[in-house]
């Protein structure tokens, strides 16, 4: 019996993989104040699921396409006529509502809806595990490839441009990575909680990190730990797995900040 034959092992592998990619990507979401942007992209995933089911294409492909389209559309229209947060609020909830309506018209899809909204990590198949590993690896590879450029453009788009980089292109790479992560993490925590998996481990890591790289690594580890902790809680108390993972991350955030405060108090 292989490792992937055990449903708990499959859940752990899929969840840890998604969290390892969400950590570093979440750091950029936090640094660039893109949390609403993450929401809009993640909510578009529900529409992507509906489109995949209607067109009978793989869910991963449909979600990747819709999340990518949403990211590009919001990025291009930012600052045109509405403030960025208004625009993102409109886009995120319109995408979510459209996805919910579309799902309601698809026979049988209604049964899966809760899984797509809140994740269904204990039910991931072998095929899902490979898909999630692929999505997470793609997101991480994009970040690793463009790391210096992304970081410079985050600090100052002008500085990046003066040094021969294209800040708009770096931004596009970040959105593509986000679309891959959304497609990968949909089964793990669900569309409504993906932003939590991005933002909370990164925020927890901030309290204990002196450099961007250390923060990215810490966020990845905290995210992975939260997945395992959440799964453990789910196993022990029969709590829903996705929300338990998010709560474990929130607990890590509280602990990290407490540790930082104590350390400052002891030093000072």
């Amino acid at each position: 019996m292989g490792l992937l034959d055990d449903f708990l092992a499959r859940a752990a592998i899929a969840g840890v993989a998604a969290a390892l990619a969400a950590g570093p990507l979440g750091c950029f979401v936090v640094w660039r104040r893109m949390a609403y942007f993450g929401d809009a992209t993640a909510h578009a995933a529900i529409l992507g699921v509906a489109a995949s089911l209607a067109l009978e294409i793989p869910v991963f492909a449909g979600v990747l396409a819709l999340a990518g389209l949403m990211a590009a559309a919001v990025a291009l229209s930012a600052g045109r006529s509405y403030a960025a947060d208004t625009l993102l609020g409109v886009a995120a909830h319109t995408a979510l509502a459209a996805g919910l309506v579309a799902m309601a018209f698809l026979p049988g899809a209604r049964l899966d809806l809760m899984g797509y909204l809140f994740g269904d990590i204990l039910a991931v198949s072998k095929g899902d595990v490979w898909t999630i590993l692929f999505g997470a690896a793609a997101a991480l590879a994009l970040l690793a490839w463009r790391w210096t450029g992304l970081l410079t453009a985050t600090l100052s788009p002008d500085l990046a441009a003066a040094e021969g980089r294209d800040p708009a292109r770096e931004r596009l790479i970040l959105m593509l990575a986000l679309a891959f992560l959304v497609a990968a993490a949909l089964k793990v925590v669900g569309a409504l909680l993906i932003t939590a998996l991005l933002v909370i481990p990164a925020a927890a890591a901030r309290a204990v990190s002196p450099t961007p790289e250390r923060m990215a690594l810490a966020a990845a580890l905290i995210g992975a730990g939260s997945v395992l902790g959440g799964l453990g809680a789910s196993w022990t108390w029969d709590a829903p797995a996705g929300p338990s993972v998010v709560l474990a991350a929130s607990a890590a955030l509280a602990l990290a900040n407490l540790a930082a405060v104590l350390r400052r108090a002891l030093r000072g």
Partner: protein, 288 residues
């Protein structure tokens, strides 16, 4: 104190350099934000090794022009040509340093592409901020921050150094020291320098040219080197070491007529209409 900074002859562009192809050439550049023109029909070129100071009041388009020359802003019309492969060091006014982004000075310097820690430390030492490598960028004082930004730019081994209001927030001795440092670095590296400053009258003494901008190029000239005159000593205090000079504006069009409908200069503001032919006494009286 550097002799080059104090001696106008040494600071002037050698004839051979003036003949060299320009590092950056702007031709008929106009810049608009949301349809509002901030800069109209600017033509200028920067040659190897020269120091050009760009002055202008707030909203005059000087930062926009510097960004366009550095490649960070696309002009609405006209063109900016950078010499192919030009190595550019850019010191922005500030960084979008979100508190959530931890960044040590050393890590920031490494972003310039320098892998050798010793070289990064040497750059910090050269810009007068030794031993700051382990500090967070967000904890630095204004002067330290500018020196860290300058060290980052130096690590690019620049042929052109663009500094956007680097002395904002520094007092006069601080600004003098910074100008002196930039003049020395120019002599060491042979790089050209484009210095953006909001101070219309007191400029870096080592400037080969001063360009006054207010929506368009108002006037262009050389600074008056004043290091020796006792009245300037009194004005600028001691210890500025001749790094500062006055710039006398010589506008060939009358800005105090900008209510004249025939003036036709567009929507730019002319709020630097004050005492263009002031002498040193005038300024001294104003300050003292």
């Amino acid at each position: 104190m550097s002799a080059a900074a104090a001696d106008p002859a040494a600071a002037a562009v050698p004839a051979a350099r003036a003949e060299a192809p320009p590092l950056v050439e702007a031709t008929g550049v106009s810049i608009r934000y949301d349809g509002v023109e901030v800069l109209r029909d600017v033509t200028l070129s920067l040659r190897p090794g020269e120091i050009v100071t760009l002055v202008g009041p707030n909203g005059s388009g000087k930062t926009s022009l510097a960004r366009a020359l550095a490649g960070a802003l696309k002009p609405a019309s006209g063109r900016v040509r950078r010499r192919p492969g030009l190595r550019l060091g850019y010191v922005p006014q500030s960084l979008a340093l979100d508190r959530t982004l931890p960044m040590t000075v050393d890590r920031f310097l490494a972003l310039a592409g320098e892998r050798d820690r010793a070289v990064r430390e040497a750059a910090l030492e050269r810009t007068g901020a030794p031993g700051l490598g382990a500090r967070q960028l967000s904890e630095l004082s204004g002067g330290q921050f500018q020196r860290a930004l300058l060290a980052h730019a130096l690590l690019r081994r620049p042929e052109l150094l663009v500094l956007d209001e680097p002395t904002t927030g520094l007092d006069q001795p601080g600004a003098s020291a910074f100008y002196r440092l930039v003049a020395e670095l120019r002599d060491e590296l042979g790089c050209a320098v484009l210095m953006v400053s909001h101070d219309l009258h007191v400029v870096m003494a080592a400037s080969d040219r001063v360009i006054c901008l207010n929506g368009h190029v108002c006037c262009e000239g050389t600074p008056t080197v004043v290091a020796a005159a006792p009245e300037y000593r009194a004005l600028f205090g001691f210890g500025t070491g001749g790094a500062l000079a006055l710039y006398r504006h010589d506008h060939d069009h009358a800005h105090d007529h900008d209510h004249d409908p025939d003036h036709g200069h567009g929507p730019h503001r002319h709020d630097h209409d004050h005492d263009h032919d002031h002498g040193p006494q005038g300024r001294g009286a104003g300050q003292g």
